[in-house]
């Protein structure tokens, strides 16, 4: 393998740890699906694990829901965010043409993210924290059902993750905005550009028409997407941090025997605030980052400039504005949420994503179509799989984000399977695989060792993800609730089919990991995590001998 540079090495480190978190999240998913099929199925295994858990023996329900609380943290903040950090810490400096602004923050981000994730995971595994990631008030501070200490520990882990994401976003912005390059952008200029204010002012004739327009003259489209998506990232991290601090304050007060009144916080106001922030991930940065990566990768892979480049920059801006106003689709079953908010924010503004993603996918597919004949590289195949995932998951999302249809879909398996897991597994994960198939040869100057494993990886992964989502989505359409344990064999057929889908995804991931390790070499993969000075000493020692 070619001598790796500083940035290349960090990107690979983030990628490897991210993939390990994907494997952990997948394993958790299989365990939970097994319990969903038969709640007692894991009793022997849990009996062994209980020997390392302190305190009373937990019930199967406590084990199931505490795993469910940790699962999205591992999947989203462990796998997806580590992959994003690794990719963006390479691509942003590469496209801006300068190094990362604060290099010391890169290893700090690399350390803090897994630490935060593992603290949250430990709060579930050891402490039975089971308030789920949605943290509906006042469940996380109801210590008759959620263990007090585990609630405090989980919030500390979550706070570390959120602070780390803020540091990451700060470093990205600083890299783009730093002055030591030919393109210099002020912070406010960047923000004005991100929200399209200077374009609007120009259009209204109220600003100097010669003023720099960062959208069209300055930044590559990928960086526009990273910039706009990162605004959502910052808001998400900030809002979740405030919720975490609130829960932490209640936890510490209870810990010191001065409990606070949970009803002092209005549950509906809290829910609006929390979902406004949380949705910045699902309906903000995921969509915008994805669009940016498609816009970067597809032209590179097919050797043709992006179709409709000027329009897509506007589309990204609209996506940012849309993401600020869609959160009410999570509150369509709340009768106290005003009807006008359900209709406007929950339904109509949410449909804004239909337009932005519709145009994004159209631009991406047109670029490929106009570049025919194209070589179906591994990265391009997975890009197409991710587009398919966004179409499938997005359609399911629009059906449930509807004041009428939500009545029978809200909180069913439809929401979490056909919408959320299709997004995460078929769409986002396929995109991460596409990025890795493109980046690994770029970083290491080596082609993948077993190209014959790419198609099995693609088809087994996608078939598994679709089977998993479709089976549970159909169960949801029959009334199967999420976060509910059914007894007596109800819905077992759907659960069994989803379990097969989960196993298929596991096989697909193993094929990919085998290919990555064979390409890089097991020693090199392990060597990524050995500090450079130790490796230099290792190499120098035989010479001295």
């Amino acid at each position: 393998m070619a001598q790796l540079g500083w940035q290349e090495k960090w990107t690979l480190r983030f990628a490897v740890v991210g993939l390990l978190f994907l494997a952990l999240a997948g394993f958790e998913g299989l365990l939970m699906r097994t319990q969903q099929y038969d709640l007692e199925a894991l009793v022997p295994m849990e009996g062994v694990l209980n020997t390392v858990r302190m305190g009373a023996e937990p019930t199967q329900e406590e084990l199931y829901f505490s795993m469910m609380s940790a699962h999205p943290i591992v999947g989203i903040y462990g796998f997806v965010y580590m992959a994003i950090m690794g990719a963006f810490y390479f691509l942003v400096p590469y496209l801006v043409g300068k190094g990362v602004r604060y290099k010391k923050l890169v290893p700090l981000n690399f350390a803090l993210q897994p630490i935060g994730v593992l603290i949250c995971w430990a709060a579930g595994f050891f402490g039975m924290f089971s308030a789920l990631y949605t943290l509906y008030w006042p469940l996380p501070v109801s210590y008759d059902r959620v263990p007090l200490l585990s609630s405090v520990v989980f919030m500390i882990g979550a706070a570390i993750i959120m602070v780390n994401i803020l540091l990451f976003a700060f470093n990205l912005f600083s890299t783009v905005l730093s002055k030591n390059n030919p393109h210099s952008y002020s912070f406010w200029g960047f923000l004005r550009s991100a929200f399209g204010i200077n374009r609007l002012m120009k259009w209204l004739g109220r600003e100097d028409k010669g003023a720099p327009n960062l959208d069209h003259d300055g930044l590559p489209v990928f960086l526009v997407a990273v910039g706009r998506g990162s605004i959502d990232t910052v808001i998400n991290a900030f809002v979740l941090l405030t919720a975490g601090v609130l829960i932490l304050v209640y936890g510490l007060a209870a810990l010191f025997n001065s409990p606070l009144d949970p009803l002092a916080v209005n549950a509906l106001v809290y829910k609006n605030w929390f979902w406004w922030g949380l949705d910045m991930v699902a309906d903000g940065n995921v969509l915008i980052y994805t669009a940016g990566i498609w816009y970067l990768l597809i032209p590179l892979l097919v050797g043709r400039e992006l179709f409709g480049a000027k329009v897509v920059k506007t589309v990204i801006m609209v996506d940012l504005l849309v993401s600020m106003g869609v959160w009410s689709h999570h509150l369509l079953a709340d009768t106290r949420q005003p009807t006008w908010m359900k209709l406007l924010s929950g339904q109509f503004i949410t449909w804004g994503e239909f337009f932005t993603m519709g145009l994004t996918i159209f631009a991406s597919l047109m670029t490929i179509w106009l570049a025919r004949p194209v070589k179906m590289t591994p990265a391009l195949k997975f890009v197409l799989a991710s587009i398919f995932g966004f179409i499938m998951g997005g359609t399911a999302g629009l059906i449930q984000a509807n004041t009428g249809l939500n009545m029978v879909f809200h909180n069913t398996q439809w929401v979490i399977a056909l919408h959320a897991h299709t997004f995460l597994l078929t769409a986002v994960s396929s995109l991460v695989f596409a990025v890795l198939y493109a980046l690994v040869p770029m970083l290491t100057k080596k082609e993948f060792r077993y190209p014959q494993l790419v198609n099995p990886h693609l088809w087994i992964w996608v078939l598994g993800a679709v089977l998993n989502a479709y089976a549970m989505g159909m169960a949801g359409s029959q009334g199967m609730l999420r976060r509910t344990i059914y007894e007596g064999g109800v819905f077992q057929g759907y659960v069994a089919a989803a379990l097969v889908g989960g196993v298929l995804m596991g096989v697909g991931l193993i094929l990919f990991l085998v290919n990555v390790i064979a390409t890089l070499g097991l020693g090199e993969v392990i060597g990524l995590f050995i500090p450079d000075r130790w490796r230099r000493q290792e190499k120098a020692a035989p010479a001295r001998a």
């Binding site: 505490s66 006042p138 079953a333 629009l398 009545m407």
Partner: protein, 140 residues
Amino acid sequence: MDKEERRWLFVLIAVFLVFNAFTLSPLIPWQGWLLWSRPEPSQRFAIHAEDYRFELPPGGIEFGAGEYVEFVATSGDVTYGFGAFRPDGTLVFQMQVLPGMENRMIWRFDEPGSYDVRSTEYSGPRHSEMYVPGAIRVIP
């Protein structure tokens, strides 16, 4: 914007208009009374949820098919859900039950029979226990 993009945008607009017009109309039956007619209910039923249990009205929940009735749900501790299910497990309607406020839903059952009640929102590890078979009886 290119010609192809404009055409595609028109397709998207058409799908948006057709889908939303359909789902906001009384063609989705409950939209008729939830969004448009707002009828006066003939009966009100108070449901209280606390400590993983539903407290239903002492006389039970019984009314005639085709009547508009109102369910008023409250919670004494955490957020729950109140969902009515057919015997085959499919959902009829649901609402979130937030603590510290009255959560109201007007509904009309057209099919006589008995319906189950289940909490549709996670409220802690014992949440799945909140299941009351045959809690709602709709008479012809």
